[in-house]
């Protein structure tokens, strides 16, 4: 991994170069958020910090890659941020080796935070037994958001579906009414997210973790359930209309918003697009989990804290952690961002029906971690590539996909 190669250099440098240290009551924050909803959510934290006398100085660097080069460069350049958005557990292991990690296990236990987080969130923020991350938001990687007007016009009710078979039973009805049944986009991100959401939903946690665990189990390729998932991936992606090629998830959701398609199966950040179009959950659009799902794949956005800092900065960092996980602030943050609060005991006043679906699902069904949090980055990207190739080539069979995954596995772990 790229940043692993830098550890030696970064360690030496972080010790030899004096950091451009933030003032005691100023937190230097690194993040990658600039969208309107994201900024509104961050402002909830900034306002709460200001009331505690802590100011926010930041550096925002966009990135969409597995390796968070911007953050690594800040550490390497001797200017590490006090607080940073990063989910990859490998990064925290590297920080620990450099003496720059800051666990919050004790703080979370003494403040009764841990006991009020859903188990999937606790799992996601724990690295090698220590809680290393401050969770800010829950997103579900595979939900169905549908256009209520289209559903009414086609005479279908997605909330009545209890299995994927139920869902497909309504396909013809929707198509006969003149609508696309499922909206479809086309890039590796969407193909990969659809696949891991289906693995969690259809094959369940055991097969999911055997495929996406830190050390994948090659016997998983022989599981019939994995083939069922591949078949379902094909069936869903076959819904693609003429414009699917290179269509982003946002544009795909737009086809549902504008009433061309009934629904979109993707991450629940689709809500941001709906809200930007002036629509609200329960009125213009509805949302359900994948019908009959066995597990929800959960993305937990989280901040990390820098260790090895002076006592005052450390206290400011801890105050930040307490603010982020305060039930009311967590609810306000989620309402602005369009996510679900990380606290199970967050007040429900600001929640919409989609938040309720998510929290009920996490309580009743349970979740698995997003692959970004647990598996090898090269392996994860390889799965994306194989599945996108499968989506793009109608002649590829299940066997081809399994063979492709095996080849990638051998190349990375063999």
């Amino acid at each position: 991994m790229f940043h692993k190669t830098l550890i030696g250099v970064a360690t030496a440098l972080s010790l030899s170069v004096a950091p451009i240290a933030a003032k005691a009551t100023e937190l230097f924050v690194y993040h990658s958020w600039s969208a309107e909803s994201e900024v509104a959510a961050l402002n909830v934290l900034i306002d709460a910090l200001a009331k505690k006398g802590i100011t926010w100085s930041e550096i925002a660097i966009p990135h969409e890659s597995e390796s968070n080069v911007g953050l690594i460069n800040l550490v390497t350049g001797g200017n590490p941020p006090d607080v940073f958005i990063e989910s990859n557990p490998g990064f925290y292991r590297d920080l620990k080796q450099m003496g720059l990690a800051q666990p919050v296990t004790e703080l979370f236990n003494s403040e009764h935070i841990t006991e009020n987080l859903p188990p999937a969130v606790v799992q996601s923020i724990t690295v090698d037994g220590d809680i290393m991350k401050i969770p800010t938001a829950i997103h579900i990687d595979g939900m169905i958001y549908y256009n209520k007007a289209v559903a009414a016009a086609a005479g279908v009710d997605p909330t009545s579906w209890t299995s994927l078979d139920d869902m497909w039973a309504d396909e013809k009805k929707v198509e006969d009414a003149g609508y696309t049944f499922m909206a479809m986009g086309g890039n590796t991100f969407q193909a990969g997210y659809l696949f891991h959401a289906l693995v969690a939903a259809m094959a369940g946690p055991d097969i999911y973790y055997r495929l996406y665990g830190p050390e994948p189990d090659p016997t998983v390729f022989d599981e019939p359930a994995l083939r069922d998932v591949i078949d379902m991936h094909r069936r869903i992606t076959s819904q693609a209309d003429d414009g699917w090629v290179n269509r982003s998830w946002a544009d795909t959701t737009n086809t549902v918003i504008t009433g061309k398609a009934l629904m979109h199966l993707h991450g629940d950040w689709m809500k941001g697009q709906w809200r930007a179009a002036g629509a609200t959950a329960g009125n213009e659009f509805g949302c359900i989990n994948i019908p009959g799902t066995k597990a929800l794949s959960v993305t937990v956005d989280a901040f990390g804290l820098l260790g090895g800092v002076d006592e005052e900065t450390k206290q400011a960092e801890f105050e930040f952690a307490k603010i982020v996980t305060d039930p009311q602030i967590a609810a306000d943050f989620a309402a602005k961002k369009g996510s679900t609060p990380v606290r199970s005991d967050a007040p429900s006043g600001a929640m919409d029906i989609c938040n309720t679906v998510v929290l009920d699902g996490l309580r009743d069904i349970g979740g698995v971690q997003n692959p970004f949090n647990i598996t090898d980055g090269d392996w994860h990207m390889s799965i994306w590539n194989v599945l996108f190739e499968f989506q793009s080539d109608p002649n590829m069979t299940d066997d081809d996909v399994i063979a492709g995954l095996k080849d990638e596995y051998d190349a990375i772990f063999g």
């Binding site: 830098l6 250099v9 440098l13 030899s16 170069v17 451009i20 230097f28 993040h31 958020w33 600039s34 969208a35 309107e36 909803s37 994201e38 900024v39 961050l42 402002n43 900034i46 926010w56 100085s57 930041e58 550096i59 925002a60 660097i61 966009p62 990135h63 969409e64 080069v69 911007g70 460069n73 390497t76 350049g77 001797g78 200017n79 997103h139 991100f189 414009g243 982003s248 946002a250 544009d251 737009n254 086809t255 918003i257 504008t258 991450g267 950040w269 941001g272 697009q273 809200r275 930007a276 179009a277």
Partner: protein
């Protein structure tokens, strides 16, 4: 004297020969088609950008990217300039515009000044190991930036310029030095020896000859290098991103922050307006100085 008789209406001044039908060569047609395709390659995306930037999102959501706006709005342009966010700072790309200007001038002065003097020394003075130095410079021109990025970050951290405008300027100067030094050196090596000899006989020192003789002769090549450098520094993303500090991010980084999002909502009209605003300064430079650019290159080529 002989009188010139006027022509009668039936007479013609010149004898007419039958016109040959104009032939268009196959190769000309191929070139025309190729050039048209090249033009469309740039023009079509530019058209989409411009029309998208003046559409309402309601129309954009329909996905018809080539359609003309049903209702023209300039709000996205205003929003892009004044309101888009880079992190929690929501003051538009104008913040980046002024940062880019602040980065541009020291970067230009450092990179051009350093390369000009080095090129002058290598071309007109007996510098020990000049050949070896030139070879190393030439080799360095082919080293990708990504390979030396981390060492440069460490070095800039050690000399305490990491995260400052001067840090960005120094990195620009270092990275531009191989190419610019070669350009200046090749330009100056054609200055006649007689001029240098005369200058030396007049007790000209290194700096005096540079400022009083060489610099005034450098107009053409300076224009070329200025355009190259302004475009390269203004369009740079990676150096500004990794070497700029808090509040010193160039326009390209502010643009990327406002446009790139993996899971946030997307406003294509504002994104397109912000991208066009960022692209305008280099375009203006080309339109204003383009003629001089061609002259400069031609002058250099003839001299060479």
């Amino acid at each position: 004297m002989t009188d010139i008789l006027p022509l009668s209406p039936n007479q013609k001044a010149f004898k007419e020969y039958p016109k040959k039908p104009a032939k268009i060569k196959g190769s000309s047609i191929a070139i025309l088609i190729f050039l048209t395709m090249c033009a469309l390659f740039i023009a079509v995306p530019l058209y989409v950008m411009i029309v998208t930037s003046i559409k309402h999102m309601d129309q954009i959501r329909l996905g018809e990217i080539f359609s003309l706006p049903t209702q023209v709005t300039f709000e996205p342009w205003w929003k892009a300039w004044n309101e888009v966010c880079s992190g929690v700072q929501c003051e538009g790309v104008k913040v980046g515009f002024f940062n880019s200007l602040a980065i541009l001038f020291p970067s230009l002065i450092l990179s051009i000044g350093l390369s000009m003097v080095t090129g002058y020394a290598l071309a007109l003075w007996n510098v020990k190991w000049a050949g070896t130095f030139l070879f190393i410079l030439f080799t360095a021109a082919f080293v990708p930036f990504q390979i030396i990025m981390i060492p440069l970050i460490i070095l800039s951290g050690i000399i305490k310029v990491y995260g400052t405008i001067w840090g960005v300027a120094i990195v620009h100067a270092v990275l531009a030095m191989p190419l610019l030094t070669l350009i200046f050196r090749n330009y100056y090596k054609d200055i006649p020896n007689e001029i240098m000899s005369a200058a030396l006989m007049d007790s000209g020192s290194f700096w005096r000859i540079f400022f009083e003789i060489v610099l005034p002769m450098s107009g053409n090549i300076l224009i070329v290098v200025l355009i190259l450098q302004i475009t390269s520094i203004w369009n740079d993303f990676i150096i500004g991103l990794y070497f700029g500090g808090i509040g010193t991010k160039p326009m390209t980084v502010i643009l990327a922050n406002s446009v790139i999002t993996s899971r946030g909502e997307i406003s294509y009209n504002v994104d397109m307006a912000a991208a066009l605003l960022t692209a305008i300064p280099p375009l203006v430079i080309y339109f204003v100085l383009g003629k001089f650019f061609v002259q400069g290159i031609t002058a250099g080529a003839i001299k060479g």
